[in-house]
């Protein structure tokens, strides 16, 4: 696969500043006008276990990670040993020469297959079972080694700041690694300084120390490695963009979409979204909204558990608030009953479900799209819901807003499926355009004329939508109940009423299916006459689009049906696209090809090849490139399991 992008990886123990290094690196590149895609991998741990960040940089738009590493920045043994083999010939490794003697066996934070494989490999090659052995192996493959004596360097630099504690300054090793890396690719210094200042924005003094360190390191590296890596990154002009993570994107969408109360119980990787909202509880409002002091607000409530999260949000919705909650698998499991209550009472409430690798606690910080079927069928009995799955950051924004809107328009619970791959990745997104967001409050009743017949919250109507009053409207008394009920909301077990109510509720999704435009349900990419059609959903979108582009360069023309609205399922368009496909390939981050199952349930069509991955690591551009190439050719296997990643 031809790939012009530059892949930079930095690793280290959780809590040692890997994230902020990566952030600086990525922002520096973005400030320099390049496209970046950042991916974070970490253990379910606060401090000490291995984490790493890949920042992929290019002049062209990027939407996914790659397996290849061009430059690996390390401080300690584990990152070096784990990732050295990923560095390509011609790539480089930045490392601390003081760590080279460490025997691999003694890396206590690391156990399992990957470690055994490294040891076997070294033994096979007759190399020392130490960090040095790994370095030697890399060097033999043509990898350039860039020793950086971090401690000396930091000590030297700290001499300039005698009044600072060294402990505060050790954190600057991260900046050292970033600056050295950028120097090796001869990147401009200005965007680096900008990025450092942006990250340490709140503490100007610290920012200036870091800028100083960055500059000196840059000089050091340029001086010591005048040839650099042999590759360059060049700044260019670009419009202003947002540098976002998926959980921030969702939060922005909710604010725009009118969400005014969010409940949550902490859980990885969902709670970052709620914390972002909490940090912006009071925000500016447009003057026409005539809000006190021109401010809107969102109330963020940390609940005692996820049962309280969904039920409190529902209580807020009954009062007329656009309300939402965010969670991940274990928490969603506890919301089943509450979702059903919102369903039977036609209450608009939104659940953002951040999928992560299951089952059970699973791998809480790893990626998967394993909750599709569960989200489709959550809760006993049958109640309609809308289920949306976003494929990238930008979709996260607009879909989050739309979820708030659909919920109220169709008076039902809406589930927004995102995933760890989106939540913990960074990419660049155009500034949101508010004119692309419409807020329709459906049949919301704000007042009733005094002469009306008695208000019926669940009145039978032609389209199944009844007038919905929030609590507090004079004359609009109503009852809600989890029991089957009559038009007023009182318990009713009459069989005829039951049938009418079931049909009323389910009728609303037919209405939604009719009214919601096709472009909000699916995306179709690529030429109609492609050799094969990919079907997928969620964050695999990025790797698929990247792979389609690189395959196109090799003459393999594919198209891609991205299913964004899972419920109501867009039967017609899906059947239409799939029945025209020459070959059908599903791509999913789960074990059992859940979407492929849904497709055959709904269309009776089967896939020629189902590509799956369930090792907790997102699909990479290159592995999907290869897999799709194979899958698009006749005679491809029925099931392909991808396993790349570390």
């Amino acid at each position: 696969m031809k790939d012009e992008s530059f892949s930079w990886v930095i690793g280290g123990p959780q809590g040692s500043g890997v994230d902020s290094s990566a952030n600086i690196f990525a922002r520096a590149c973005a400030h320099g006008g390049l496209w970046v895609f950042g991916k974070r991998e970490y253990h379910s741990n606060i401090m000490g276990l291995h984490s790493y960040f890949q920042v992929r940089v290019s002049e062209k738009e990027l939407r996914s990670p790659v397996d290849r590493v061009d430059l690996l920045a390390t401080f300690e043994e584990e990152t070096l040993v784990r990732h050295a083999a990923e560095v390509v010939a011609g790539g480089g490794i930045l490392y601390d020469p003081a760590k080279a003697a460490k025997p691999i066996e003694e890396i206590e934070t690391w156990h399992g297959f990957a470690k055994e494989h490294v040891l076997e490999r070294l033994k096979g090659e007759g190399l020392e079972l130490t960090v040095a052995g790994v370095l030697k192996e890399a060097e033999k493959r043509g990898v350039k080694l860039f020793p950086v004596p971090y401690t000396d360097l930091v000590n030297q630099l700290s001499a300039h700041y005698p009044e600072k504690q060294l402990s505060k300054l050790t954190r600057v090793v991260n900046v050292v690694a970033v600056a050295a890396s950028l120097a090796l690719v001869k990147f401009d210094r200005a965007p680096l300084d900008d990025a450092v200042r942006a990250i340490f924005g709140r503490k100007p003094e610290i920012a200036e120390i870091n800028v100083f360190v960055a500059d000196r390191t840059y000089e050091y590296a340029t001086q010591h490695y005048p040839g650099g890596l042999g590759r360059t990154l060049t700044t260019r002009a670009s419009p202003r963009r947002l540098f976002l993570m998926g959980n921030q994107a969702v939060a922005l969408g909710k604010l725009l979409g009118g969400c005014r109360m969010q409940t949550y119980y902490p859980i990885t990787p969902a709670s970052d979204e709620s914390e972002f909202l909490e940090a912006h509880e009071v925000f500016d409002a447009v003057p026409a909204a005539k809000l006190p002091d021109g401010k809107g607000s969102i109330l963020v409530v940390q609940t005692e558990d996820e049962i309280a999260a969904i039920t409190m949000a529902t209580g807020a919705a009954l009062a007329g608030t656009r309300a939402a909650t965010s969670t991940s698998g274990p928490g969603f499991s506890l919301m089943c009953e509450g979702l059903g209550y919102a369903g039977i009472n036609e209450i608009p409430v939104v659940v953002t479900l951040y999928q992560r690798a299951g089952p059970s606690t699973g791998m809480p910080t790893r990626h998967e799209q394993g909750d599709l079927r569960f989200a489709m069928h959550t809760g006993q009995g049958e109640f309609p819901r809308i289920l949306l799955a976003s494929g990238d950051m930008e979709e996260c924004i607009y879909d989050a807003a739309r979820c708030m809107d659909y919920a109220e328009r169709y008076q039902l619970p809406v589930i927004h499926l995102v995933d760890k791959g989106l939540a913990n990745s960074n990419s660049l997104v155009p500034i949101p355009d508010p004119s692309r967001i419409r807020i329709e409050r459906g049949g919301l009743v704000q007042s009733l004329p005094a002469t009306d017949p008695p208000y019926k919250r669940f009145a039978f109507t032609e389209d199944g939508l009844s007038p919905r009053a929030p609590f507090g409207v004079k004359g609009a008394l109503m009852w809600n109940t989890g029991d089957e009920h009559n038009e007023f909301g009182h318990i009713d077990e009459d069989p005829e009423n039951r049938v009418k109510m079931m049909e009323k509720r389910h009728g609303k999704v037919l209405l939604a299916a009719k009214q919601i435009p096709r472009e909000e349900k699916v995306n179709v990419f690529g030429p109609p006459d492609a050799a094969a059609t990919i079907v997928s959903w969620g964050s695999t979108k990025g790797a698929i689009l990247d792979a389609m582009a690189s395959l196109a360069e090799e003459g393999v023309r594919l198209n891609f049906l991205q299913i964004r609205m899972v419920l109501p399922f867009p039967d017609d368009v899906v059947r239409d696209v799939l029945s025209k496909a020459k070959r059908r390939i599903s791509v999913e981050m789960n074990y059992s090809s859940q979407m492929a199952g849904v497709l055959s349930e709904r269309t009776h069509l089967s896939m020629d090849t189902e590509i799956v991955k369930f090792n907790g690591r997102p699909m990479t551009h290159n592995e999907l490139h290869d897999a799709l190439k194979r899958a698009a050719a006749p005679g491809a296997p029925q099931r392909m399991v991808l396993t790349n990643g570390s």
Partner: protein
């Protein structure tokens, strides 16, 4: 125009068993609402699942007959979203102190201004009489195949431990006392819990109406039954923790309440056990974060302007994220 009792009645058939204490609770709740004279639409009423839960359908105000054990978080959600509503929540003892006890404890920690009344009948009524968490150890009510194997929880003590700022007990068949207690609870600024002793003639054949009214123990002289239930008020009991009291004084009030909470059997106190006027309510605390919380609440602030454009203007947030 003042509210009439009849305004508060619905046409729904009251399907409790004859003699059920829930009838007394319903009547008291309606009396309290009438006497408080809050406009109907300003009230939001919640209930859990159980016999008690049907009470909402019999009272002519909006609200929700919710899920088993979850009435409280639904009610809290409504109150948080629109702090100008008067929120009342009814729970069962299985519902509120069994499956739902976690929400009870955490509601205590929050002190949101609402009322929570628990129908304490010692049994799971609607599922045919299993022991509820308030039934005493070794008691064997009618439908239990074996005596109760669990100790009971003491709701007053639990409320104290959870930080509830208003804790009272009343009795389903003393409708005047119960109505007054509910009114006090509603007027309290903070989370108010009212435990209601509720005879269940169908399944609890131990703590019956006759037992509460002492029909098995008559005054040897007058031959009149000596009720087991007595009023704390009548003893000059003072439950109030006032602003400015020391922690020690406050703790003495708690101890006193706890002592009273232990009484059971021949002397069962009802009335207000504890009322703390010195702890800030949740809304007070939110106001520190969101100054417009009461005037532009989550439920009432505009979210869109002309033709559905978002009311939120996020330009300043973008500034922090842009490159």
């Amino acid at each position: 125009m003042a509210l009439k009792l009849s305004d508060l009645r619905t046409e729904v058939h009251q399907d409790w068993c004859p003699g059920c204490g829930d009838f007394g609770i319903l009547a008291s709740a309606q009396m309290a609402l009438k006497e408080l004279d809050i406009p109907q639409e300003r009230v939001a009423l919640f209930s859990g699942i159980g016999c008690h839960g049907k009470i909402h359908h019999f009272i002519n105000v909006s609200g929700a007959h919710t899920l088993h054990g979850r009435a409280l978080p639904y009610a809290l959600g409504t109150k948080l979203a629109n702090p100008n509503l008067e929120v009342l929540c009814f729970g069962g003892d299985g519902d509120g102190l069994g499956i739902g006890v976690g929400h009870f404890v955490h509601a205590g920690r929050r002190n949101i201004d609402m009322t929570y009344a628990i129908h304490d009948n010692g049994v799971y009524g609607l599922t045919k009489g299993q022991a509820s968490p308030t039934l005493g150890l070794d008691l064997q009510t009618k439908s239990l195949p074996e005596p109760n194997i669990n100790n009971n929880v003491n709701p007053v003590a639990l409320a104290l431990a959870s930080g509830v700022t208003f804790i009272a007990r009343s009795y389903a068949f003393d409708t005047r006392h119960l109505a007054d207690t509910l009114k006090k609870a509603v007027l309290h600024k903070g989370f108010a819990v009212v435990i209601i002793l509720q005879p269940c003639p169908t399944y609890n054949d131990i703590e019956t109406r006759a037992w509460y009214s002492g029909e098995d123990r008559r005054n040897p002289e007058t031959k009149r039954p000596m009720p087991r239930v007595y009023k704390l008020e009548s003893e000059g009991y003072d439950p109030l923790v006032k602003d400015g009291m020391t922690e020690k004084e406050r703790f003495a009030k708690m101890s006193q309440a706890l002592e009273k909470a232990q009484e059971w059997g021949d002397e069962i106190p009802i009335g207000v056990f504890y009322q703390d006027l010195s702890t800030s309510s949740y809304a007070d605390r939110i106001l520190h974060r969101i100054p417009s919380y009461l005037t532009a609440s989550p439920a009432t602030q505009a979210i869109a302007v002309d033709g559905g454009r978002p009311a939120a203007d996020l330009a300043r947030i973008y500034d922090g994220l842009a490159v």
